[in-house]
Symmetry: C2
Subunit: 270 residues, 2 copies
């Protein structure tokens, strides 16, 4: 663990990350000692910091610290948390240009059954609905109680991921992943302008579609439309791509396009 | 500062309070060495912990630790943060019955102009709207980015507090306070079942009304209705009660009921 470049595992209780969830984070896959998709992760970190007016550390500094953290270790998951920094005065009001806090951690890869990749996973539709907050939508910030409550609903070990809708019955995302559906050879992924986290693997899938001449639509759709999809798949930086095998009593056994995207995501590391 | 009863000012970076804003808090007024409204604060802490299934420390333990913290000091503001605790596994899923983390801090009272109490304050209607999340509404949890963004809109020193509406144009609360309006001798305060924090001073005002035979209605209303109120006032545990003097170009110069409530709140310390 590195806190502002110094080995350690504690932060000040005056840090606004703790006080208000006033910060953003990234979870990065490390394979063979290499951080996957680093430029894209950094760009997203910059965007998220800018949206909240948090000072984003320089790319070179973060990259160097990640290298130190990973050192000899080969595979795992690195996490970067950037908070607005330590509070001097009391209260919600953020001071302009505060020195942000950067927290870097590294952990072994999660064990995840091969079947999740080859046969797909089972989803559960969560009871909790995502609230519409356009000023925070898309940002991977530290206010994650909705995800915590949603994850608590998915304790059944058969359930690999929870599916989140919004208050208007639109499909939005997985608890820790983004969602795509395939219909007649076209891709569809939910519009995240009101809620949800716009992950970088979602961005990569959209680019895959553009490069391969596959139409990809970012728009609203509900569960009814999702359940008649030809394929559904979930993506994030740690798991990669999981096809969906079961949702609301419907089964999917063939995932030809999901598999093409899965292959491409795991080999193209830009 | 006391962390789990031990003097210190740092917490683990694996604490879910930092990782996800997975915790709740209380801000308590200390006057003449006494914690104001302690039983009520503790009851609310218990309710908020229960709503998120966070283990709430025993009242006697917290009270004893607060006493140690306050010691010889007379006036100030104590803060209690209870997080779900330290994460062992990775990910959003909360483990049942985790040992929560308790963080207690004490700070001097804020300087606040006497005029705020005698003549009232100016409010600004914030651009950011509160999102509807019934599963979190009312809880004073650590996911406070909406408040941070709202507070950032109120940097003009003339503005003492920001007024928050929801996405449907309902008046909800102040950035750090609850709101009441007075009309024809009756009180009205927004329904907080979709968003907002249900503070204990709001509860006390509702009780004041009941004891004094003043009708008090908890319901939805918009800005148009608010602006024709006879009086408006804001309450929280640190400031007490501020009448509203100015909002959206409308002025209020007489606050007879606000003043009665202000007097009562500051003298009855249950």
């Amino acid at each position: 663990m590195l806190i502002n470049g110094v080995p350690g595992d504690h932060i000040s209780i005056h840090d606004r990350g703790l006080l208000y969830g006033d910060g953003v984070f990234r979870t990065l896959r490390v394979l063979g000692g290499c951080i996957q998709c680093w430029p894209r992760h950094y760009r997203k970190l910059q965007q998220d910091c800018a949206a909240l007016r948090i000072t984003c550390p320089e790319a070179a500094l973060l990259f160097e610290e990640l290298r130190r953290l990973i050192e000899q270790r080969s595979d795992g998951v690195a996490k970067i948390i950037i908070t607005r920094g330590e509070q001097s005065a009391r209260g919600y009001t953020p001071v302009e240009n505060m020195t942000s806090t950067r927290i870097l951690t590294f952990a072994p890869s999660l064990d995840c059954p091969d079947r999740n990749y080859s046969h797909g996973v089972k989803l559960r539709v969560c009871d909790i609905r995502l609230a519409h907050q356009p000023k925070l939508a898309g940002i991977k910030h530290l206010n994650r109680l909705e995800n915590v409550l949603a994850a608590a609903e998915c304790s059944d070990p058969e359930i690999a991921e929870g599916l989140l809708l919004d208050n208007f019955d639109n499909v939005i995302e997985g608890v820790r992943s983004n969602l795509f559906m395939v219909r007649n050879g076209e891709l569809f992924t939910p519009n995240l302008s009101n809620c949800g986290v716009a992950g970088i693997q979602r961005e990569r899938v959209i680019e895959w579609a553009a490069r391969h001449g596959v139409p990809c639509w970012v728009r609203q759709f509900g569960l009814t439309e999702l359940l008649v999809a030809d394929e559904i798949f979930m993506v994030n930086s740690v798991i990669g791509l999981w096809p969906v095998r079961e949702l609301s009593g419907i089964d999917w056994n063939h995932h030809p396009i999901s598999m093409q995207v899965q292959e491409w995501l795991s080999h193209a590391h830009d």
